[in-house]
Structure formats: C-alpha cells, structure tokens
Symmetry: C2
Subunit: 319 residues, 2 copies
Amino acid sequence: MDRFDVTILGCGSATPTLRHHPAAQAINYRDRVMLVDCGEGTQLQMRRYSIPFSRITDIFISHLHGDHCLGLPGLLSTLSLQDHPGPVTVHMPAQGIDIFSRMIEFFSPGVARNVELKAIPDGIKVIAETKGLEVVAFPLYHRMPCHGFIFREKKRQRTLLGDKADMLGIPHSLRPAIKGGADWWRPSDGRIFTNAELTTDPPAPMSYAYCSDTLADERVAKAIAGVDVVYHEATYLDDMANQAKERGHSTAAQAARIAARAGAGSLVIGHYSKRYHQPDALAAEAAKIFPGPVIAADEGMVIEIFNARRARAQELPTP
Amino acid sequence: MDRFDVTILGCGSATPTLRHHPAAQAINYRDRVMLVDCGEGTQLQMRRYSIPFSRITDIFISHLHGDHCLGLPGLLSTLSLQDHPGPVTVHMPAQGIDIFSRMIEFFSPGVARNVELKAIPDGIKVIAETKGLEVVAFPLYHRMPCHGFIFREKKRQRTLLGDKADMLGIPHSLRPAIKGGADWWRPSDGRIFTNAELTTDPPAPMSYAYCSDTLADERVAKAIAGVDVVYHEATYLDDMANQAKERGHSTAAQAARIAARAGAGSLVIGHYSKRYHQPDALAAEAAKIFPGPVIAADEGMVIEIFNARRARAQELPTP
C-alpha cells in the first residue's frame, strides 16, 4: 500500500492561541510532501513533526487570510538557505500572486527562481498531477475567494499474481502490460492466459478533501461527493450559527451535514474558534449527524487515508 | 523603582530550530511594551510569556533578514482583529518601508491606519522618546543595513525626602519644583531650606543596548559606552571566527571584548547558530574575557535591568 497520509500542523482559527497553530497540513503521498495552507509558524511545526523540507513539491493556499498563508515567506526563506532548494509550485488565488512575488523576491531572492506561483483557476479543475495522484481545486464560500482541494489517487494498475507469473515464467518486460490489463500468450504451447487469471482487482483509489473556511454549502457536498476522508472546518457549535454565517464559517453540525451529503467515509473537523478550549463538544455535535467516524483534528495527528477509509463499513446514505 | 525589563522571545539565528525561536525581545518600560525585532512566531511567544498586545507602542526592526521581521505581518494582522488596536510605530531600515506597507495593506487593512512605518536614520540618533526613556539607534555592521538600539532612561528627578517635607508642611503644589532642584523658602519665618537638605540624588538612569547581527566592531563599543546591560549576538565560538567574519556575525569571545570595551555592566549573549545545542560553551568563552556577569539568553528569560546592573560591583575597565 502506497503511503498516503495527512499530518495536521495547525487546526486553529484566525487568532493564534497556545493550544492551536494556524492552518496547515502536510499531505504525504509516496515520497512527496504537499502542504495545504501555510499559517505563521508552519516551518517550525514541520520540524516538530519531522516533515522533510526537501520533499515539498507543491503548496496549496486556500485563501489569502493571514492565518492561512503568512508562514510562506519564512518557509521559502528557509528553503533558500538549504543547499538544494528543489522546485516548488505554490498554488494560490490570483489576487495573491503579486504581493507574494514581491515578498519572495525581497526576503528570499535565492529561492525565487525555484518557486513558481500559480493562480488557482475558477471552477472545479485539476491543478496538479503526479504519476499516481491528481489534485482538484473547487470553490469554497468564504468572505474572499477561497478554494478547497481534493487529493485523489488515479485508477491503479491491476495487481499481478507474482507467484503465478514466476511459475509460468512470464518475462519481467511483459509484466507492466499485464498490470495494464493485457492477456499473456505462452510461446511454448501458444496457450493464452487471460488477464483475469493473472491479476486481481487493484485497491480502490483513495481520496482526501480539504474544505477550509467556508459556509456550509450544498455545492461543496457535490464537489467532494464520494471522498474517503473529508476535512471540513467547524469553527463554532451550532448555537453560534448566526455568527458562523456572518463570518463565512460553518458549525460542527453543518460540517457533519455536508460530509454526510457527500457520502464521505470519515469526517475530520478543525479550524476551531479560540473560544473552545477542547474540541470535544464540537466533535460530539458532528457525531450526532454524521454516520461515520468523526475525528477532531489536533496538531501532530497523522491520518492514514486507508485506515480512515476502512471505518467506512456500513452503507452510507447516498448524496 | 520603575519597571524596566527585557523578555527574550527568541534568541536563535536564521534557521529555525525546535530549541530556539527567531529573534525577538519585548522591552517593558513602565506600562508600555516595545518590541525589538519580530521574527516569525513572535505573536505566539508573546502569548506564551503573557506580553500584552494592547500595550505595544513601538516595534524596532534591526534589519530586513526574514528571521528578524517576518512575524510582523501576522502580529499586526492579529492586532487588527482586536477591538481597539492602538497606534503602533514600526521603525525599520528605509529599504523595508515599501514592501511592509504593501504587506500590511494587503493582510491587515483594518490596522493600516493605526500603524506608522518610520525609516531609521543613518548615524547615531534618538528615534523614539517617552516621558522617561529615549531610544537611540546606531549602526551595526552586517551584510545589509542594520541598526542597534539603546534604551536609555532620561535623567531622573531628585528624590524628595517625603517625611521631612510633610513635617515642614511643604505644600504638594511646590514639591515638583523641589524634585526638579529648587530650594524652599518657609513663609512662616523666611528660612531657606536648600535643595540638598530636602532631596537625595535620584537613582542613576538605567540603560540597555541591543546589538543584533553584527561583526564585532570598535565603533559599536563606542556607541554603547557605559550601558548597564548589553545584548550582543554571539553566533559562533571563536574557532569559527572566519565563518563569523564572512557572514557578518560575531563569536562569543568577540562579543565579550566589545562589551568589555564598552564598560558594560552585564553581557547577554544570543543569536546562537543551530550547531550549538546548548549555549554553555558560548557563555563560558565570553566569561573568560568579559569581567562582569555573562547571561546566556533563553526564550522566556526576563532580565531586570536594575538587578543585572547591581552585579556591576567592582570597577570595570574603562573603554
């Protein structure tokens, strides 16, 4: 099973507290690290939880409130002090490109040539892609332009029955084609082994959606339909629904409703208002509504997508 | 005794570690707070050590390397979320005014009208002043324009002998003049009480100098001559003197020599390279040269200037 997990680096909201750091998560997929949001102090949190700086390939910034992006100049500045700062693509709302270009040029000119700033397009679009994973941006509904992200594994190749292939003497050069779905013709007797005889179905692709700073909105449920694990902000308890609406945020109950409508496997909540010293009440409120497991994010928590998905035992309501 | 102390918020160098935060100190003088440098995460360190945000009047940025100023946008952004963001003056090298104006306007427009950015002039100049304290900027010698700061109490008024004044029946309205040096004429018999009979010498004014990121330079010793307490960077041990010179930094031995030449009462060292896990060796190296107490800065340490000065018992070498 390929590595696919999420480390919570910060799950607080705008006003920093000693309990929670501002927003940041590190997605580990195979041997690469992708950051989602980058609040002040993210680089320190990365050190604390041993996320290797050199493996960062992409940074996705949901929106341009300071608690989601002000760790970027410092992180890039530190990268510029390293011997081999790799190319990093920073995806952010178009409105931030100018100011961040200037900041990077000013504070870390040494890294500027290795950093590409890319505007996130409107609508639902694939904005980054690796061999095994694609990243989809979709609209969120906050007080300024804001995007969510889905990290979705591509369809995997079929799983070759290795022992059988060895026994039959299938050359290694032909195996990739078989994993891709081909049958095999045995030269010695002309017998054809069908692909179904040689392979099994691959594990279903895994997916993770990040919904930070948004009103609870049906369009979000639709955009993330069927994801295995969804992180959805839950800034307030439902008794503060008016405040949530006014400030472009969600309550825990609302987050649970969106996740349920999306048919998600597990729900992770975060972006807690500083008024809540413990997330227990928020998690309990969500758990009353969401049928799957509800995980209250905390700094340092590592969520393995495969394990979080396994909790998805019973049939979930279809969106 | 008026409050005059320094809280170390960060005493690490450019690459952040889990041991030390980037540069920042809070000067508490009477009921105001002045920050010196503001590395990433300063606002969190202020919370950790209970420095009240609402009392900040001035922020002094020594130079524009990220580890000395990238906490500024986040701190000002948080101030803008408070109900009554007070006026704050940020003093920084002229080269930073443009980029920081843009950053503040972008990330915390609500606070922009309460923040004034002021360029630090060249040379040795008083750049800020309150009733009891003046702040002097002076040149440091780093890889870019860099300034040190002296926080110096003004000459205090004489101390009125309160019991004697009461006994003689000196009206309260006349006492400020006597504290200022006046004699008193007793109306009942025309007798003159000289100021020397009515007052004692005030405590000597206290002073603190901050020398961050600089080559060891005689001109610095001259600029800070006679201060009670000096913070001087000591990035390396003396066996790295070449590296120090090349990067515009000082060794612990060099810092001690400058402090001794300045006739300072106590020496605080900091800005440790990440190669040193403990500052013990750095402090020991400085103590071999500096005749007064050597204090190895650490996050959360509070240095009371009066107490640090009292250690100045024996005669120190004159610069």
